[in-house]
Amino acid sequence: MADRLSSKPQTPKRLAILGGLVSELWHDKAGFIGFLVIALITAMALLAPWIAPYDPAAQNVMARLQPPVWLANGDWNHILGTDNLGRDVLSRVIWGARSTLLIGASVVLIAGTIGVIVGLVAGYAGGRVDGVLMRIVDIQVSFPGILMILLIVSVLGPSTLTMIIVLSITNWMIYARQVRSIVMSVRQVPYVEAASVMGCRPRRIIFRHILPNLVTPLLTLGILEFTNIVLAEAAVSFLGLGVQPPATSWGLDVASGRDYIFIAWWLITFPGLGIVLTVLSINLFANWVRVTTDPQEREKRFAYSRAARRMVRPAEDRAVVR
């Protein structure tokens, strides 16, 4: 009976928490704009087949290097102009978001999983296991990333899947290091000691007591890493080792547009703008997430907000008679 009583008010309570979070996000303007832009880009990527006016690979030799609509010679058929093969730039930007976000999300997930497992094992086991795993991390970190990428691409051949594998292999170390350091400090926390004294097995201690402490720092790290992956993907595709035509990505478009930079600046500008906007808005949003998931930071942010200043006004403002 007690169970039913306690589970009843659960749903409205969760809704209230969600509502509170939304209003908190609304009050942090930078974070809100960041969130909005990410949501728009994600929606754009998901809905690409329906909202893109043309097939991104469709060539049209009759309409090569058309400028955007607001320039002389531009027209409404190609709002952001066309490239050297007459492909619609707007459609390419919309489709490019797809592969960029797909690669970014998959790499964060895969590299994150590898890194978290290595970090957990190293941090919990300690001793020799820790030493060996952390030396592997050190070696991987000091190994030039671009060399690794060239090596793997030459074996597997360039493709989107290769991109994901390559970037996962070169980006998991940061998770391992961070997770290990958190695990080492959480192991000293009294409730973890209590758990081991009461006879919990290591697996239970890791999953019930240590892992939940990793969620918020990993969330922030993952979001920030996402921007790194977007930039890395762009760089590798720019070198011609990443996404291959007829598929498209922002990095690839920037690369192929560079020959025309003086006669058709829009080829390189719009996909470049896509990268900048994504990275910037993710950073803005990640900052909000970091503050909101840390109770202390959250209280501090509140303290410096206007609402707090209204609550406590120094005596002299109220014209107290001394």
């Binding site: 959250r298 209280e299 509140f302 303290a303 410096y304 609402a307 707090a308 200043r309 609550m311 406590v312 006004r313 120094p314 005596a315 002299e316 109220r318 107290v320 001394r322």
Partner: protein, 339 residues
């Protein structure tokens, strides 16, 4: 202490609020204190009672989200608050009023030698040269009972033990010859035998330098040893002020009585300790009336209104039933309940 001499420090109806996401926290409310030259005032209370916040307000250490929202703090009759007061306060704090804290490790700069840290305030407030400051620092370290003071000058805080660090803090605090020393739980982080040494040092300095001391502590035993007067705080208010002997022998407020009864003594052989049931109230949106009412064994309807300061055997007691023996009835009730 005679009331004729003008008090050094007057805290008058002070109120400090903290804004938090959960609501407005009234950290202290209507706190009034007077400290005379050369006396030791004990400020006693449990965690969250507002004893540290009161000291921070005097030292100008309240920063957002907190703010002083009422009352006044006066040094020798001149206010330290407000725009004009701030300027005056800067010349008073650190020079005339000094403060030491609970954890000497976090209040010492780990990257500066002991000698430089002690000398810093003297160079700022008294215009000492480096050489003068160093010579004076050595004297001070000797005065607070550190062995080999000349050698200590060039050591860093991490090379010293907790007790030695607290001695360094005290040396820093008395370097500008203050008239008032505020000691916020100065011995809580120390071992019992070291605590006794530090308390003896404070008592000796007070006698030698004519210092006034505000000693903030949760330990009634510490208060009994070196204080002349005591102010007991509960939930952000001062519930009782008076002479140390009166308060310990004839406490007028039910909370003070309960606190004394639940303090374990070395002599006591009774097996069960007396305790105060319940927990201190939250300071967010406090109820009007006496904050101790939910835990008070002799609470009546009148207690829902804020009690006035009643005089009781020379103490000022904020209770409608000041002086009533609160716990004899309560104890029988607990015995009947089979505790």
């Amino acid at each position: 202490m005679s009331a004729q001499t003008a008090p050094l420090l007057e805290v008058d109806g002070l109120r400090v609020d903290f804004a938090s996401r959960a609501g407005l926290v009234q950290a202290i409310n209507e706190v009034s204190l007077v400290v005379h030259k050369g006396e030791t005032l004990g400020l006693v209370g449990e965690s969250g009672s507002g004893k540290s916040v009161s000291a921070q307000a005097v030292m100008g250490l309240i920063s957002p989200p907190g703010a002083i929202t009422g009352g006044d703090v006066r040094w020798c009759g001149t206010s330290l608050l407000g725009r004009k007061g701030e300027r005056y306060a800067r010349s008073v704090r650190g020079k005339n009023i000094a403060m030491i804290f609970q954890d000497p490790m976090t209040s010492l700069n780990p990257l500066m030698t002991v000698g430089d840290q002690i000398g810093e305030a003297m160079r700022y407030h008294l215009g000492f040269t480096h050489v003068q400051a160093r010579r004076r620092a050595e004297e001070l370290l000797g005065a607070v009972g550190l062995s080999a003071p000349a050698r200590r000058l060039d050591q860093y805080p991490h090379e010293l033990s907790g007790g030695m660090r607290q001695r360094v803090m005290i040396a820093m605090a008395i370097s500008c010859e203050p008239e008032l020393l505020i000691a916020d739980e100065p011995t809580t982080a120390l071992d019992v035998t070291i605590q006794a040494q530090i308390l003896e040092l404070l008592a000796r300095l007070q006698k030698e330098l004519g210092l006034a001391i505000i000693l903030i502590t949760h330990d009634l035993g510490v208060v009994a040893g070196i204080c002349n007067r005591v102010a007991v705080m509960y939930a952000g208010r001062i519930v009782e002020t008076g002479d140390v002997d009166t308060i310990f022998e004839d406490p007028g407020h039910p909370y003070t009585q309960g606190l004394l009864r639940s303090t374990p003594s070395l002599e006591g052989t009774e097996d069960t300790l007396m305790s105060i049931d319940g927990i201190p109230p939250r300071l967010i949106d406090p109820q009007p009336g006496c904050p101790f009412l939910p835990r008070c064994p002799i609470g009546v309807d009148a207690c829902r209104q804020a009690p006035p300061a009643e005089a009781w055997k020379g103490s000022a007691v904020r209770c409608w039933k000041a002086g009533a023996d609160a716990w004899s009835m309560g104890a029988t009730r607990a015995q009947e309940a089979g505790l």
